[in-house]
Amino acid sequence: MGKPRLLPSVVKNLTLKPATIQYPYVRTEVEASFRGRHYADLQKCTGCSLCAIECPADAIVMYQIPAGFQAPKINPRRIFPRIDYGRCVFCYRCVAVCPFNAYVTTNFYELAGPRKNDSVELSLKTLKGERSVS
């Protein structure tokens, strides 16, 4: 049994950059197609609740659009999916089963934090005429 030749590895490693990165300052690169944070586009959502029924993690609850927002006519019940990112397993089953392709997908993954973390704000931003009625 001989020893692996270490010297070339040592010299090579002296010239290499460190393998670790300074995470909060340097972002980890993820693919554009990585399954990250997703939310419903309320211009397309009809409030059919199929995503809430199909969610394997029970992370989606249908939520009432607050009174100050104008809901599109296709959504007469004024409800939309609220995704609890703490429960979500990012399987994208909701994205796949949505009959109106209403989900907006991103590769955003930095979701850990002390704050309450759900998709209400992001979804409501997609509505036009935000707080236009009183």
């Binding site: 692996p4 993820v30 399954r35 199909e54 394997p56 990012f90 399987c91 089953r93």
Partner: protein, 406 residues
């Protein structure tokens, strides 16, 4: 006159486990030691009973695809694959060739990173931390490849009834091939390290020797059986998905010790890398591999299916029974770790306490790896908690093999 002397050995009971966050399922190994030599090991399980089989019965067939993936994080692709194939058998659906090739690619990538992980853990257990970090660094490349293919680093959620959940573009296929080629070079290097390094040889060779007849009589599976000369591989015997066309080579070694089991894993990882490259070169273009999930039937006809798959740890089987409703009537899972860990308590006998984590790691346990051990001296009743790494490295009064004490 004394004509009979009854010698009572000082036996030490060492509960190993049951909790550690590093590996998945917690298990307790209760080892009885006479001095340094382990005389008996009891395996206690049940610390991680999550009721998944019952959970599957109260959720729909399609929700269950994502729940079975959470049985085990490392083997999530094979778990979903074997479940989805069971559903396809009940439905009578056959996925097209491109989908079957992509499934094989995802499963082989998983095999590579699983084998790299357990070899890295083995390096850590024997105190070779640099090797652990090097292997884990190269494992990141495989995780990147998995992210490219499936959209998730670990949880793939890639299988769907009738195909896979996303297609692979030609550009990504080229990137994948480059990543796998670079990983293959590193795999060869690590295999050489495990063959030639003196420390690894001293800690692994002739430790936990498993005879061929014991491997068969105790129903051991996967690389553990293949390390003892048993030619068992569900990929070859069942020829599921695209394995009938790809024909993977089965790595078998006859030594039967911990070293042979690790070398089987390196050999398999290399073959998986070759297989992945072959899949990428000969990826068929016969159809769109992504089925429309909205159009899949909600109810499945009554029937039952029994499918198996070669997981990184051995043969994994699923029994799915449908009564014609929305939810499965029964899903029975048998994982390879179950037989490999529970039936292998005899393996530890006759070896030292320091060999215990080595033998356990060589079985590729899908269970909690042990960090701390509670040592109870049965004679005095005193208890002492010592770090398990100290045990495995032979430090202090638990020093046995003495390689680190020189």
């Amino acid at each position: 006159m004394v004509d009979k002397v009854i010698e009572i050995p000082v036996s030490v009971e060492i509960p190993v486990g049951p909790q550690h966050p590093a590996l998945h399922e917690p298990v307790l190994l209760k080892a009885y030691a006479d001095g340094e030599v382990v005389v008996k090991v009891e395996v206690n399980t049940g610390y991680n009973h999550r009721g998944i089989e019952k959970l599957l019965e109260v959720n729909s067939f399609y929700k269950d695809i994502f729940i079975v993936g959470r049985v085990c994080g490392i083997c999530n692709t094979v778990h979903t694959n074997v479940y989805v194939r069971a559903l396809e058998q009940i439905l009578g659906v056959e996925p097209c060739r491109r989908a079957r090739y992509l499934r094989v690619l995802a499963m082989e990538l998983e095999r590579i990173h699983s084998h790299m992980l357990i070899n890295a853990v083995m390096a850590e257990v024997i105190g070779f931390d640099t090797l652990f970090m090097n292997i884990m660094l190269d494992r990141e490349k495989v995780m990147k490849a998995k992210e490219l293919l499936t959209g998730g680093r670990v949880m793939a959620d890639y299988m769907m009834v009738g195909g896979v959940r996303r297609d692979l573009s030609d550009e990504d296929a080229g990137r994948l091939a480059r990543i796998i080629s670079s990983v293959r070079e590193r795999l060869e290097y690590y295999k050489k390290v495990f063959e030639e390094d003196i420390t690894i040889g001293k800690r692994l060779v002739n430790v936990g020797v498993l005879k061929r007849r014991d491997a068969v009589s105790h129903s051991l599976l996967g690389p553990v059986a293949r390390g003892s000369g048993v030619r068992i591989d569900a990929r070859v015997s069942d020829k599921y998905d695209a394995y009938d066309e790809l024909k993977p080579e089965v790595v078998v070694r006859d030594e039967g010790d911990s070293w042979a089991r690790m070398m089987v894993r390196w050999g398999e990882a290399l073959i998986s890398a070759d297989l992945s490259l072959r899949v990428l070169q000969s990826l068929p273009r016969d159809c769109n591999p992504v089925p429309d999930e909205k159009k899949l039937p909600r109810k499945l006809p009554a029937g039952e299916a029994y499918t198996r798959v070669e997981a990184p740890r051995g043969e994994l089987t699923y029994f799915v029974m449908s009564d014609g409703g929305v939810n499965p009537y029964r899903v029975k899972i048998r994982t390879p770790s179950f037989t490999n860990i529970i039936n292998s308590a005899f393996l530890y006998e006759g070896y030292t306490i320091a060999d215990l984590p080595v033998i356990l790691a060589s079985l590729d346990p899908c269970i909690s790896c042990m960090e701390r051990a509670l040592v109870t001296d049965l004679k005095t009743g005193s208890r002492k908690v010592i770090p398990f790494t100290e045990l495995s490295r032979g430090g202090g009064k638990w020093g046995s093999r003495g390689y680190y004490l020189q």
